[in-house]
């Protein structure tokens, strides 16, 4: 019987004999062309990814404040009275009270508040709560600190009532020492069981680019 070394040497020679027959294939041009195409694809993917990341950061940044804090003393909700010359044919009887309740709902959802309060302040709250948590995690991965994001200021303005249970507002979210991350954006509110809530559509529209929830988009009401 041959030793391991002899058998190994024989194997090496056998392999060498076989693979020496390799037919040289000058693929350098093909390689460089495919490599350049690969780089172009990577650049395209990077551009798309960067765009999505920017949207996710912007959305997640203002959501994290609400999703990670139990306090409610730092956020300011400001209601700017609507123009008196706009008639709301189907407006609720107590406009001032409705406006305050809508602003409170926006503050609870996008500002610091316990999970239960958040869920109660938005339409389909139980379904959308995981969406807020997910956005919070994403924002933290992008470097926003809890302290930085729990001092956000939610401003609600120009409530206009579509009917007695549906309203349109404009809202902005500003993070102190960081800037306004959502500026004068249109949002919706709905009244359910006598309570004004942030419409699921508004939450989904903001966080959909980077996160998913069973409540979005199929169950998003108008």
């Amino acid at each position: 019987m041959t030793s391991d070394d002899e058998l190994g040497a024989r194997l090496g020679r056998s392999i060498d004999t076989r693979v020496r027959r390799v037919r040289p294939r000058d693929g350098l041009e093909d390689l460089l062309a495919r490599s350049e195409e690969r780089r172009r694809r990577q650049r395209r993917r990077f551009a798309v990814g960067a765009t999505i990341a920017v949207v996710v950061v912007a959305v997640g940044a203002f959501l994290i404040g609400g999703a990670t804090s139990d306090g409610d003393g730092d956020t300011t909700a400001v209601v700017i009275p609507r123009s008196p010359d706009v008639a709301d044919i189907y407006a609720p009887g107590d406009l001032a009270r409705a406006g305050v309740e809508i602003a409170d709902a926006y503050r609870d959802v996008f500002g610091p508040a316990p999970d239960g309060t958040k869920a109660a302040a938005m339409q389909l709250g139980a379904d959308l709560l995981p969406l807020l948590h997910r956005s919070s995690e994403i924002a933290q991965r992008f470097g926003y600190t809890k302290d930085q994001l729990t001092r956000n200021v939610v401003t609600v303005s120009d409530p206009a009532f579509i009917d007695a249970t549906h309203a349109i507002v404009h809202f902005s979210i500003t993070i102190p020492d960081h800037g306004t991350i959502v500026k004068d954006r249109v949002g919706y509110a709905v009244q359910h069981d006598g309570r004004w809530q942030v419409a699921a559509r508004t939450v989904c529209d903001l966080v959909w680019p980077g996160t998913t929830s069973p409540a979005c988009p199929a169950k998003t009401p108008a």
Binding site: A9, L11, R18, V22, R25, G27
Partner: protein, 166 residues
């Protein structure tokens, strides 16, 4: 065509201070020996050519960050062959782990006997007896301990004996 260097020279060249070989230079130097290595590991010249080309394309994308290009390319080729073997194993209904093609009547039985070995045994044998690498370097490529390499080589040779004695 540049005559391929032996393995000891590759490692030494990689570690040399001021090593600035261009990608094209390295491609011309390494392409043929890497195809041969891949052929030995896969049993298919065509597959070997494709795998090595893919390895160089991926390497080209981040060439400036590759510190030891020769060692890097070789390890990448071994890994690519392992992945190909896994794919072949999944896709084939028989037990063959090895893609044997162009089997000629005069083909050396030792080479074909490699087809019966599991990939890691095959790779250990090829790297030790064809590439003539030290076991420490083989361990690095196969991501295992030197003792494991010795075991793979021993079991591979034992299996080879059984095959060629049949």
């Amino acid at each position: 065509m540049v005559e391929p260097k032996r393995n000891e020279d590759w490692t030494a060249a990689d570690q040399a201070v001021g090593f600035e070989a261009s990608f094209v230079d390295l491609y011309r130097e390494l392409h043929l020996p890497m195809v041969r290595l891949a052929w030995a590991l896969t049993g298919s010249e065509t597959l070997a050519q494709d795998l090595v080309q893919d390895v160089f394309i991926r390497a080209h994308a981040h060439w400036s960050r590759v510190e030891h290009p020769r060692s890097y390319i070789r390890a990448a080729v071994v890994n690519a062959c392992r992945s190909a073997s896994r794919r072949a194993k999944r896709e084939r209904s028989n037990d063959a782990l090895f893609v044997v093609e162009d089997v000629e009547l005069e083909a050396d039985e030792m080479f074909d006997a490699l087809s019966s070995l599991p990939y890691r045994q095959r790779a250990a044998l090829v790297l030790q007896y064809y590439e003539e690498l030290p076991q420490a370097e083989i361990a690095g490529i196969l991501r295992c301990r030197e003792g494991t390499v010795a075991s793979l080589v021993h079991r591979g040779l034992t299996q080879l004996r059984r095959v060629i004695d049949r």
